[in-house]
Amino acid sequence: MVTRQDGGRRRRDPLGVGMARRLAAPVRPPAAPGGDLFDLTPTEDQRMMQQIAAEFAAEQLRPAAAEADAHCHGPVGLLEKSAELGLTMIGVPERLGGAGSERSQVTNVLVAEALAHGDMGLAVACLAPAAVSTALTLWGDEHQQATYLPPFVGNDVPAAALAILEPRPLFDPAQPRTAARRTARGGYTLDGVKSLVPRAADAELFVVAAAVPDEGPALFVIESDTLGLTVEPEPAMGLRAAGMGRLVLDGLRLPATARLGDDDDSGAGYAECVALARLGWCALAVGTAQAVLDHVIPYVNQRHAFGEPISHRQSVAFAVADMAIELDGMRLVTYRAAARAAQGRPFAREVALARRLCSHHGMAIGNHGVQLLGGHGYVKEQPVQRWYRDLRAVGLMEGGMLV
């Protein structure tokens, strides 16, 4: 069990009351305009964000990836630096102190893709707090927005994470076993276990999925020092740099105000949350798969066997062609889902299709990556083995990310 190191934590007004400016109603970002043309061109703003994220990924994330993977933690200072990119601001409307003017799924997907090209695990660590600020923006009521959002749009962004997944086979987020039972005093008592939560040990705030008996699943805001919450490390096959852990909720008591959104509306909001989390994982898969392809192409051109580059063999060259075809398919379906989500159109179908493509073909790309490097792909000197481990997560993760 991890002992929480409160002594080392930044001191803050945990409720942010000093900064809070309460509005009469929650502020939601309006739907993004869609235009009326089939178009694959990002806007100028999106291109700029994409470029900033790509530079950060190349200069900061990629060089730190191997060590972060080994230590299950990003290097000191890196995550703070990532906050300067404004990742938690993108989806938050200006009236709430953020930088957003509309639903931002396309921008978020482009940024997540670019960061994952550096390293998927570190990208998840960087983006984990944004999942919470986005959840508060999209589904929080005016009190929750006023209470919790200010630090996410300030200079000192706290670690935070969205926790949906639970540790068992065939987990369905529509039926979490973590229960939130209503108490006689109008609050809730939570019991259950959440799995593979990024930055679990240093997060100050969690948004956690739990089923309210007779009502269905809902999201709850939980401060990390709440009695009844313990965090256990949960290192896994990959994504180790994300510092994943389990949250054990044992008779954890929450006031009624901790439940995200209106009680009536939480079903639709929760379904949207699950879908946007999956979309986030698709974006990460696209970026990681692109990293594999970009690494493999020069390798197979330089590596000689039987007197010529191995890329002169169809079995090698065709594997590269397949990786590129499937990668572009993954990307286009992910973009379509993101654009529909941003425009306020239904997008459940497109997310389900993107998720299956990114899980299936993303893993195949990771597998090809190791195979084409042969023994060199299997050793930790080369990053392809890490991408192989990271890409396996895409089809099974729920929560953790949000775009």
Partner: protein, 406 residues
Amino acid sequence: MINLEVPRKFAELVRLAQQAAAEVFRPISRKYDLAEHSYPRELDMFAAIVDGMRASGRGSGAGVVGARRAPTSTTGADPVRNGTNLSSVLSIIEMSWGDVGLLLAMPRQGLGNAAIASLGTAQQRNRFAGKWAAMAITEPSCGSDSAAITTTARLDGDHYVLTGEKIFVTAGQRADAVVVWATLDRARGRAAIKPFIVEKGTPGLTVVGCEDKLGIRASDTATLHLAGCRVPTENLLGTPEIDEIEQGFAGVMQTFDNTRPLVAAMAAGVARAALELTRALLRDAGVEVDYARPPHTQHAAAAALLALESDWEAAYLLTLRAAWLADNGRPNSLQASMAKAKAGRVATDITLQCVELAGAVGYGERELLEKWARDAKILDIFEGTQQIQQLVIARRLLGKTSAELK
């Protein structure tokens, strides 16, 4: 602005194409699958309507002649266009949903028409307007290796004299003209290969016979003989010079950048038909896909259908992307081949799996699922096989010549 929806301005075209596919093609689909080699007369009236729509501008982009690259963007700052390449693939998806064999049998919608549209001068496009043009590339001893073409074209005054044999010519029997690929000089390799428009009735051109096929049986596949067949020099598509650097074979191969997305669209259309019918049959059997729940928590058939649909969606969007690039004057060789490769293989895979999912209903002739599984296979073969697409894609990505990556 990233948006992958069909623009509203094409909604009417798509609706009309869907209506025609449902009302003209579907009712006669099985009839001409069984009656191979008999001409689907029902298409005459329909083809006339399509011609009329195009003439009136209402059906702009209905069919293969919309496949023409927009002028290359020079500034890169031009506004985004959705043009006839996109509307063509959209209407072809709908028509192929109806019946891809009948689409290939549509008068004046041949691949030769696409070649004339994309390579022809304005004068050539005018001269052959209203003519049905087939395309003849393959020979008994050369298929994918189109640089090995042996049919010769010898300049004789103001005529070329063509001699050789062409096989697998789609609509070769019924078309009014055939775009024949022939070499001006066999010693000069691919640079000497040029397409020539040969009109039916030209002395020396004979249709030898038609194939019995696995699928697309509504469409005739002919063998042609060219014995000293004289065509006027103005029937040459492209330049007459044998230029190893620029124009030659590469220019001819560029036709494929425009036609491969069309074949990818055919594949997307056939595969969608199979997915839709299978979805309905499974629903009747009590199985429905739930997009919100993880596939592993659903019925195996639902998970299988979801997987097939996801690969379909990738093929569909790759196809739209290839057309969008052409509409905007941007290079799309790589993307056209990606679309063709993905759509060709998933159409075969989807239609075959749909037969299995539907069991005896899928395998029997009372439904069209087994027919679509036979029809789809050609789409992974013509206009460049799966393997040729892979070569094109791999050479581009790896920066290899055809001598290095064979």
